[in-house]
Symmetry: C2
Subunit: 218 residues, 2 copies
């Protein structure tokens, strides 16, 4: 396999959703710029580039968010049965305070509208574009030797108020970013016994839902 | 810059949304497997891996979809003012018939539910995961020297019926995949004069919406 492919696959397969390994060391400015350029180079429906990036450096803002996350965590814990709740108790769900920087990725559904090419039939197509930018950011950070953790224990309305985000703009992801001691070899939730990964073959279908390739096929 | 980073950025920045450059040559089976493995290695909320991949090889199915796309295209054209409609007329919106394979990525919101860790506060978090898998697929295909084009001129209900996808599963992307003569240096829509890319600096905010780093800052 040539080097370009091998390096990409190495990045894709070593990428982790980081909670516990942040060191708190600063992110080099040039690395941060490259990571955001990578996110900004994502595909987008009708070239709408509907994303924005709010870099949250302020400690008070990050602590405010962290406290909100803890409250949401408790609510989720109360929704679980006793066994799952016990398992969940041991799982770290965020690295907001330990990581070097938070990057909040937002979505503006009005950008380029009306007449966004390719968004006529599918209302959510803009939202999908913003998610593609998030994955670019994540892989770029991984290649830079940084960790990324997506925290999703929050209410959008809370984040919108905290960061003075206009009502028409939707916060999509709160990402913790920064140097890490290492990336784990397998997902936290698998190591914790919360859930195991599904074999790829179960996710593959041919020509119709549930379709399998015949033995004679390629 | 080390080779791992440089190669990833090369892939991210050379990736295009392809319509016109497909050759129709077959995709090597081992490359297709690596691409799907890359998609399947995407992060997902609560390790739910809510995606599936329907490989559409059958010509009649692809032709049926293509005809549906043309009808949706006409509807969109009628929604535009005269000037935009004239511009749109010259823009190719899909490579369904010319590409080697269609890959339909679907989303199952029930996978791992109830109690998907991290999806308690944000209903769409599962959907976001499926989009991350799509970007991994796209970058992997790019590194394999293949093109990918996301067609979004369709009704979900049409694709669901065509591929016998259960009512609870949502088709998210119809991706045309295959060898290409080349990747263009800039997006089709920019070259066609439809829309230009936004400068990254306009998408960056510090600590709050519209916040800029002070001149004294790093």
């Amino acid at each position: 396999m040539d080097s370009r492919r091998a390096r990409l696959y190495d990045t894709i397969h070593s990428r982790r959703d980081v909670r516990g390994q942040f060191t708190g060391e600063p992110i080099p400015q040039d690395a941060l710029t490259r990571i955001l350029e990578a996110a900004h180079a994502a595909p987008s429906v009708g070239l709408s580039q509907p994303w924005d990036f709010v870099l949250v450096e302020d400690e008070a803002l990050r602590r405010g968010f962290w406290e909100h996350v803890q409250a949401e965590r408790e609510q989720f814990a109360r929704s679980l049965d006793a066994e799952r709740a016990r398992l969940f108790e041991r799982i770290k769900i965020d690295g907001v305070l330990e990581s070097s920087l938070s990057v909040v990725v937002t979505h503006d559904d009005a950008r380029g509208a009306p007449g966004v090419l390719g968004r006529f039939s599918i209302a959510d197509a803009g939202l999908y574009s913003t998610c593609l930018a998030i994955e670019n950011l994540w892989l770029a950070a991984t290649a830079e030797g940084l960790g990324v953790g997506w925290v999703s224990f929050y209410r959008e309305s809370y984040v919108r108020a905290l960061l003075q985000i206009p009502a028409s703009i939707r916060p999509i992801a709160w990402l913790c970013v920064g140097p890490v001691t290492h990336l784990e070899a397998s997902p936290d939730l698998e190591r914790a016994g919360w859930r195991s990964r599904r074999p790829l073959v179960d996710a593959m279908h041919v020509d119709r839902w549930g379709g399998r390739r015949s033995a004679a096929g390629a």
